[in-house]
Symmetry: C2
Subunit: 481 residues, 2 copies
């Protein structure tokens, strides 16, 4: 680092400390590290400082101080994002603002089917506290032991229950947001219906911190689903899995809460990560579905699952299957889904995608994309799995074992181009649930229609004209100050 | 009308005819009348012209022509709105742009659980066409035989199924919008999950045409609920009705599709409108609930309803009840709910509200508001009913029969002030589902927080700086051109 840059940095850090309570400002490089490295550990950056406010007023003060100093802010929740949305890319002029100290649950109201919670609350803790009141918050994703509810809202997180309960957007009743000018938008209502003009909170959901900092959230709660039936099914093809999904929606009256597709390789990968994992189904099948039906009260969910499987097996849509007889067995079935991810990670760097296409084109897309990969990269392996009921597939590509980092990187780069080229013919999305962040910005911008770019630019200009909020995330805005 | 205004008007009309295909422009006062009178017939306005485009390109051309002529546009769907959002208030400088000729259903895809439809399609026609494919679009409201899907989206319509399926916003997958600069925003995707940056379509949902003109919509479809159980229940109080709602959500595993609260007066009013309507329950009760559970496939909905009612009647939460034994009987039960509205209309002008409060405060609010009305207006009658599961109550006030129009108007004015004053203490909304339009603009502006006003102004300035889109609706923006 050059001396003059160092001087600027030290001066900025001193100014932040002078402007804010000392306890809020972290500048020690070692201490800052965990805030500046991404979830996968692929990227390590740095920052002018890490700010750790304890209250909404602290956040507002931080925003005002940063504006005055010409420093921009990268808001950060649990830092579990997969697209580098909460890691600085301009360390000399960016601070990380972590919400981790704002983790209070302000209220859980079972009678109102709602809760109000600060942005920094860890999702699994929130869910546990809600469950204590026999209520349920359905957002469920791999990172739930670390991610924050504020980050979930800011990225409009998806996960395994979207088919039943929708994306995070559909679970949000209200928001408190610190705006780029340091004022506070107070919209922590718990009203289920409120048509007083344009619904401003929608702007901040999925904006990845580019229009303001979400400091608290009010959310919808559901009755706790005390009955859950989980089954692992063997099928003849992805096409059959999609047919099964359609039939399950109708036959199970939309009480299905998860429907995950996995290829045969899932078991191989899962056992590479968890060697003792018992094999749940005897035979080998070209396709597997992990399916969950859940409910509460007077509906007999176990009976529904049994009758449904009886019917689809009689029709040959499902070849073999096992229904978990206990919570422990259900947990083991889910371990395959989760172990598959760990197994991929153990094989080293690989290409991860997060693609959605219209449901009726999903099987064609996977076939075309896997074929294109095998033609362009014959020594790589494709693994396609995911939330197929939502049209969302994670089509990943694993370089051969023993690849050097450079070789792997080259193959990943090529694989991404190959898959995206196929995707462009399918009216699909390069980001179904992970967001854009900095990782997918170039791919996003490349595909952005002029009318959308114009609207996004007008919006940014209107709400954050001085570009204090997460510049470099989602989109670059040349021409704005 | 003064001569110079007339000249301007005729000149504007001629210019519109010159700029647009002649067939698109309606200027005959008689022919324009139905586009310039509101649903209730309370307000009759006029316009420079009524434009009736046949295509998205027509709409874009109309927007460009209006901008050039300095004429603003009031977009109109089925003109069934209740808040004067689609009726001109500046007839000398506004045109109505009706979407009625853009009514094509572009696609219904049962395999994708989606449909794509033009804005001017009548809701009930859309639902019927969808039902032919054994699919279901759950939006349901009184005006469905006349309202347009574009208007539903533009106003984020609610209705009776919100408790299960959400507001219109949650049913929208994509939008096509003509923007205020005449460009076309093409977002007619049917993807269920798409986190490519800020979700721009959210801006136009519920904006009541103030940011652009919705020309087509892609929507979510569900399996058709071929089992429906309908029951009318007698209870001891609104408090018990709310307890029943909470219990029903849990016991029926959120398969409840309607839960309407009615006071005893509902039956009196309904029979004033439909004298032959049979009385479904023998006794008189302080509170009634019309409840519907629905589903498809292997879940036995009739059995669920029976077991649920058995259980809540045993506990004394429900005193008496009747389950419809046929579709015709179910229809009769719904006629009470609908007849109650007609009965109110027959009694002449009255105050209508569309209020929401947090669910756990609903009973207190209704008690306080009704008491305040009876103190301030002892000769008026309050009728509180509605979608109580959503915290949404229509607390209406009927002036005494025989009131002169002026007397009635004075009482309505006073009743509104009284109810709104109570509401302000309850963190409620003056518009749960009807929107703001022009009717509620003053009440909305009066209660608008500065940070919200600033954001709404910035948004309007960013997207519609020349104020061509529905000025006077929702909010006035002094200082914008």
């Amino acid at each position: 680092m050059k001396t003059d840059v160092m001087c600027t940095l030290v001066a900025l850090q001193a100014s932040l400390r002078a402007a804010l309570t000392n306890d809020m400002v972290l500048t020690d490089t070692e201490e800052m590290l965990r805030f500046c490295r991404d979830w996968h550990g692929d990227v390590t950056s740095s920052a002018v400082a890490v700010l750790r406010p304890r209250s909404t007023e602290d956040v507002a003060a931080a925003v005002r101080a940063c504006r005055e100093l010409g420093v921009s802010i990268v808001p950060q929740g649990g830092n579990t994002g997969l697209v580098l949305g909460s890691i600085p890319d301009r360390p000399e002029s960016q601070v990380v603002l972590s919400l981790e100290r704002m983790s209070a649950i302000r209220n859980i109201d079972a009678d109102d089917f709602s809760a109000v919670v600060e942005a920094g609350c860890i999702l699994s803790e929130l869910k546990d506290r809600i469950a204590e009141k026999n209520m349920y918050f359905p957002l469920a994703l791999g990172a739930q032991g670390s991610c924050h509810i504020g980050g979930n809202v800011s990225t409009n997180a998806g996960g395994i229950n979207v088919l039943r309960y929708g994306m995070t957007r559909e679970l949000v009743l209200g928001l408190e947001v610190v705006l780029p000018d340091g004022t506070i938008f107070n919209g922590l209502s718990t009203l289920r219906k409120d048509n007083r003009g344009i619904d401003l909170k929608q702007l901040f959901i999925g904006a990845e911190g580019t229009l303001g900092i979400i400091t608290a959230v009010s959310i919808k709660l559901m009755p706790f689903p005390d009955q859950v039936a989980t089954a692992l099914l063997g099928l003849n093809s992805l096409e059959d899995a999609i047919k099964l999904y359609r039939r399950a929606r109708r036959d199970c009256s939309d009480l299905m809460s998860a429907f995950e597709f996995m290829p045969p390789l899932a078991f191989v990968l899962a056992r590479e990560a968890i060697p003792d994992l018992p094999m749940p189904i005897a035979g080998d099948y070209p396709a597997y579905v992990l399916m969950e039906i859940s409910g509460s009260g007077l509906v007999d969910i176990a009976d529904l699952m049994e009758r449904f499987l009886g019917s689809v097996m009689e029709d040959g849509l499902v070849v073999d299957g096992v229904i978990a007889a206990s919570q422990a067995q259900a947990r083991n079935l889910w371990l395959f889904r989760e172990g598959m991810n760990e197994g991929q990670a153990k094989r080293g760097p690989h290409m991860r995608t997060d693609i959605s296409v219209p449901l009726h084109r999903l099987a064609d897309f996977v076939r075309d994309a896997e074929q294109a990969v095998s033609e362009a990269l014959p020594d790589c392996i494709s693994v396609s799995y995911g939330h197929v009921g939502d049209g969302n597939v994670h089509l990943n590509v694993l370089p051969p074992s023993g690849s050097s980092p450079d070789e792997a990187a080259a193959k990943i780069y090529k694989a991404k181009a190959v898959v995206n080229r196929v995707l462009d013919g399918y009216d699909g999305s390069i980001s179904a649930e992970h967001g854009i962040g900095r990782l997918k910005r170039a791919d996003f911008e490349e595909r952005l229609a002029p009318s959308r770019r114009a609207l996004l630019t007008a919006l940014k200009q209107a709400i954050d004209p001085s570009m204090v909020m997460n510049p470099g995330c989602q989109l670059n805005f040349p021409g704005i100050s």
